[in-house]
């Protein structure tokens, strides 16, 4: 599909003021954008055409063998049916999308298992979108509930204006019971607390990007020498909803860590990454959010920044789902220049060396690390363990390859709660077996599930690294 409308070369969106250094990974070639094969979901091509993908499937069932939902839910026919078989059946006649696609949690594990590169999660996302659009009763409890869960950001924004009241209300067992009965949101879980001060409020108060620029310059001067040349080290932070409204400490850690290494941080305006919307088939909502994000992030790239995210589902969304589902101008460029926050630092700085040299006060700190499915898919799953290995006094143990089971909004649905906990059981067991008493993960909802299943406190790797490398408040 070389005539794809988003075949804009990543170099077009490249920064004008990049240093001309072949070893600066910012100069790394990005892969030719004609390798993206966007599928037209909207606009001119009303008909979704996923036939080539269907034809590549040779029914080996490997994908079915890795699906965490199929493992515990005998009603769920599995990824092979949701993807290639469903699209093949649809081609034959006017068949509707099967309702079971709503049980797929969008963990995207099936994607990386397929030896034949069938774009499974893209097929699921598209099918879910079509199901919700054409078959779901818009006044049904399920639709309303899913819409609320998918648009968590909207409610979070309201709640963050009066966090104490919101926390009180959401923590109220009467409200929880009503939520369960009226909306089908499980009463088993405690709502995440809203922070008194959002990340963005903290950021503005601290002086925004002007202050960041100054701090970065000071850090560079202090580190001296070779660092001085990189006048333009600049990243745009995609904080996502959770680290803005619920865990601003993750965002603050990201900022401190990056400034410590001499990066100026920008915080562009942004909407939800769209992850919960994809998982609930709310493609129109996702599309609106994505449009803003692509526009703002492309502008940041234009000013010489790369994009970093601290939530692995957010980075997954920008990197893979956007180009698979949308074709706004700049989509491919944003995908090619988005990184997970630690991955990026690791590529550009001697993070290993800094950690080895750090005399951090983390003696005896032991972590039970869970790799989120979406980190696995990006190939960044083991890095937190690898990095903490370098740090004296700290130790992180990988608690194994199982899925945590919450998958964003999935585990919040009353009818999915039990399956969610059953999927997570293996991870809970491994956490209990590990000598560590603190959990570690990059995904905010995985963290919720880890806390919920084991009672452990869970931290983000960025927080631990910032604690080890950056001293004091600044």
């Amino acid at each position: 599909m070389s005539d794809a409308p988003n075949a804009n070369d990543a170099s077009e969106t490249g920064s004008p003021n990049e240093p001309d250094d072949p070893h600066d990974a910012r100069e790394e070639a990005t892969v030719e954008s004609d390798e993206f094969e966007p599928v037209h979901v909207f606009e001119e091509s009303e008909e979704m055409d996923l036939r080539p993908g269907s034809d590549d499937c040779y029914k080996c069932s490997t994908c079915d063998s890795v699906c965490p939902v199929a493992e515990v839910d005998d009603e769920f026919p599995g990824p092979k049916f949701q993807g290639p078989e469903q699209w093949r059946l649809k081609r034959k006649g006017d068949r509707d999308v099967d309702e079971s696609v709503m049980s797929c949690s969008n963990c995207m594990r099936c994607d990386s298992s397929c030896p034949s590169d069938v774009p499974l999660s893209q097929m699921h996302n598209t099918a879910r979108g079509e199901f919700v659009e054409e078959q779901m009763e818009k006044l049904s409890r399920e639709y309303v509930r899913n819409r609320i869960l998918a648009n968590y950001r909207f409610f979070a924004e309201v709640a963050s204006r009066m966090p104490r009241l919101a926390n009180f209300v959401m923590g109220n067992s009467l409200v929880q019971a009503v939520n369960e009965r009226l909306l089908g949101i499980t009463a088993e879980r405690d709502f995440p607390e809203f922070a008194d001060e959002t990340f963005r409020e903290w950021w503005e108060k601290r002086g925004g990007s002007a202050a960041s620029k100054k701090r970065a310059r000071e850090a560079r001067a202090e580190r001296g020498g070779a660092q001085a040349r990189s006048e333009d080290k600049r990243v745009a932070y995609f904080h996502g909803c959770y680290s803005n409204y619920n865990t601003p400490e993750v965002g603050k850690a990201m900022v401190r860590l990056y400034e410590h290494f001499g990066y100026e941080v920008l915080v562009p305006p942004q909407k939800c990454s769209g992850t919960p919307m994809f998982a609930n088939g709310m493609l129109a909502d996702a599309r609106r959010a994505a449009e803003t994000n692509v526009r703002e992030l492309a502008a940041a790239i234009e000013s010489g920044a790369d994009i970093v995210a601290s939530c692995t589902s957010c980075s997954m969304s920008l990197r893979q789902e956007y180009p698979e589902l949308f074709d706004f101008e700049g989509t491919a460029g944003v995908a090619a220049r988005t990184y997970e926050a630690l991955e990026y630092l690791r590529l550009h700085e001697d993070l290993d060396g800094s950690l080895e040299a750090a005399d951090a006060d983390l003696d005896g700190a032991a972590f039970a690390y869970h790799a989120p499915c979406h980190a696995r898919n990006q190939g960044v799953d083991g890095q937190a363990v690898e990095l903490l290995d370098r740090l004296d006094g700290a130790d992180a143990e990988d608690v194994g390859p199982s899925c945590s089971g919450i998958s964003g909004t999935y585990g919040w649905k009353a009818e999915k709660y039990d399956a969610s906990m059953e999927i997570g059981a293996e991870m809970f067991d491994h956490m209990e077996e590990s000598p560590a008493e603190t959990g570690l993960t990059e995904c905010p909802t995985c963290a919720m599930q880890m806390e919920h299943g084991t009672g452990y406190e869970v931290r983000h790797p960025l927080e631990v690294l910032a604690e080890a490398l950056v001293d004091g408040e600044n």
């Binding site: 990005t30 892969v31 069932s61 890795v66 199929a70 599995g78 990386s112 298992s113 590529l347 083991g382």
Partner: protein, 439 residues
């Protein structure tokens, strides 16, 4: 700066994991960079050295035949001693999960198609089914596992002249599993010995039994004094020996697994064992994205072959460099996508290593589906140090070695040598890379 290891192995199949393990045990810091999960999930889980010679004669002792192989064969590069070392590493990793290490001779294992396959190592769960045993056999297939047609497999085995009576029956897998339930789902149920409803579904008082019991009862009805019972390989993902022991107690007969097509439980169990051994040895894994490109070490001079500085992984549009001192190419053959062909030529897609092949496309294959096809032997050619050679016969890179199905000069499907070549060359390449890197 960047991610840096002593040895980077590209490809996480049998060859790649063996190379990584061998290198890590030599003390190197090793990373495996692999696009997909290993193709072991599709493979049978049987581990062959060499089943047939070039005249298609069945080999009793594969090691004896190694010196007579064509000079370009990878076994000639590493020698019979190298092959033995590869298998010694394998035996150490799998422990009592596998049998066959007491002899050099090939064992004969009945397959799901009803053929008898010569192999060097076989899962313990397969052992009671060997064709050299003369106890009568009952094969039990399931309606919902279509690639094992037990009555047909029994017919084929009889036609192959096995020295024992064999019958096959097809039954319903107990419990109300959906007709298209994944094989892994059935295996998990057996692992956990889930209780399932048995008897007439319509009856108001349906009885429930642990699934292992229920399965044994189902098979028992068909037993006519056979001393061995074979099921398709789905007897648990992890607790296979326990499942088998329970079934044997109920049936009063030996119980074995018949290896099936993908997804293959024996292949997954083997993958798990290798992964575990790699992790224990400190190997790091970065999976999910392909290596597409490489960087050259700027300091190379003209007299020596170029030296690789890094391989680049394509990650959703960005190219991420992984630096190392030494590299191993273990990306598989035409199936694993380590060798690629178009109408014009055959190529190794990452480094563009030279792949010898006839210029005329019409010479790539022979007449007839089972002819002596040149394409079956396509792959890179190496020096004695397993370094891929360019068109002129010089190493492509000073610090790149190749292992497994990406190598040319052998036809693993015809000669039944797939896993053996991966083990032997994986070990040799990994070990050499580690020696160079830690020197």
């Amino acid at each position: 700066m960047a991610i840096e290891d002593d040895v980077t192995v590209v490809g996480g199949g049998l060859a790649g994991m063996t190379a990584a393990l061998a290198a890590a045990r030599e003390g190197a810091a090793v990373r495996v960079v692999s696009h997909k999960d290993s193709t072991l999930r599709s493979a049978s889980g049987l581990v062959d050295v060499l089943g047939y010679d070039s005249d298609d004669e069945l080999l009793a002792d594969p090691f004896e035949a190694i010196p007579d192989l064509p000079e370009r064969h990878p076994y000639r590069t590493v020698g019979a001693a190298g092959v033995r070392e590869g298998f010694a590493l394998f035996d150490d990793v799998v422990g009592d999960r596998y049998r066959g290490d007491h002899t050099d001779l090939n064992a004969l294992v009945p397959t799901h198609g009803g053929t008898v396959k010569p192999t060097a190592r076989y899962p313990a769960s397969v052992a009671p089914g060997l064709a050299s045993d003369d106890r009568p056999v009952l094969l039990v297939g399931f309606e919902t596992v279509p690639d094992f047609d037990a009555p047909l497999a029994a017919d084929h085995l009889r036609a192959a002249g096995v020295p024992f009576p064999v019958r096959g029956v097809t039954v319903r897998f107990p419990g109300g599993f959906r007709a298209d339930a994944a094989r892994t789902r059935l295996a998990d149920a057996l692992d956990a010995d889930e209780r399932v409803a048995v008897g007439d579904d319509a009856g108001p008082y349906s009885e429930s039994l642990p699934i292992r019991r229920a399965l044994a009862e189902t098979a028992k009805d068909h037993l006519r004094g056979e001393k061995r019972v074979g099921f398709p390989a789905l007897l648990g993902r992890h607790e296979t020996e326990e499942v088998r022991a329970d079934l044997e107690a109920e049936l009063d007969a030996a119980v074995f697994e018949v290896p099936t097509g993908p997804p293959s439980l024996p292949g997954m169990r083997l993958e798990g064992a290798l992964r575990g051994a790699c992790r224990e040895a400190g190997v790091r894994f970065t999976t999910g994205n392909p290596v597409v490109d490489f960087e050259i070490d700027g300091e190379a001079d003209d007299s020596d072959p170029d030296s690789l500085a890094a391989v680049r992984v394509e990650r959703n549009g960005a190219a991420i460099p992984f630096h190392a001192d030494q590299f191993v190419l273990a990306t598989g053959g035409l199936v694993g996508k380590g060798v690629d062909s178009d109408r014009e030529r055959v190529r190794e897609p990452i480094f563009d290593c030279y792949v010898p092949h006839p210029d005329d496309r019409y010479d790539w294959s022979a007449d007839g589906a089972f002819g002596d096809h040149a394409f079956a032997r396509f792959g890179v050619e190496t020096d004695d140090d397993l370094r891929p050679l360019d068109r002129r016969g010089d190493p492509e890179f000073g610090n790149l070695r190749a292992a497994g199905a990406v190598l040319g000069g052998y036809d693993f499907a015809a000669e039944k040598s797939g896993s053996g070549v991966s083990l032997a060359t994986g070990l040799a390449a990994g070990r050499r890379a580690a020696e160079e890197a830690t020197r």
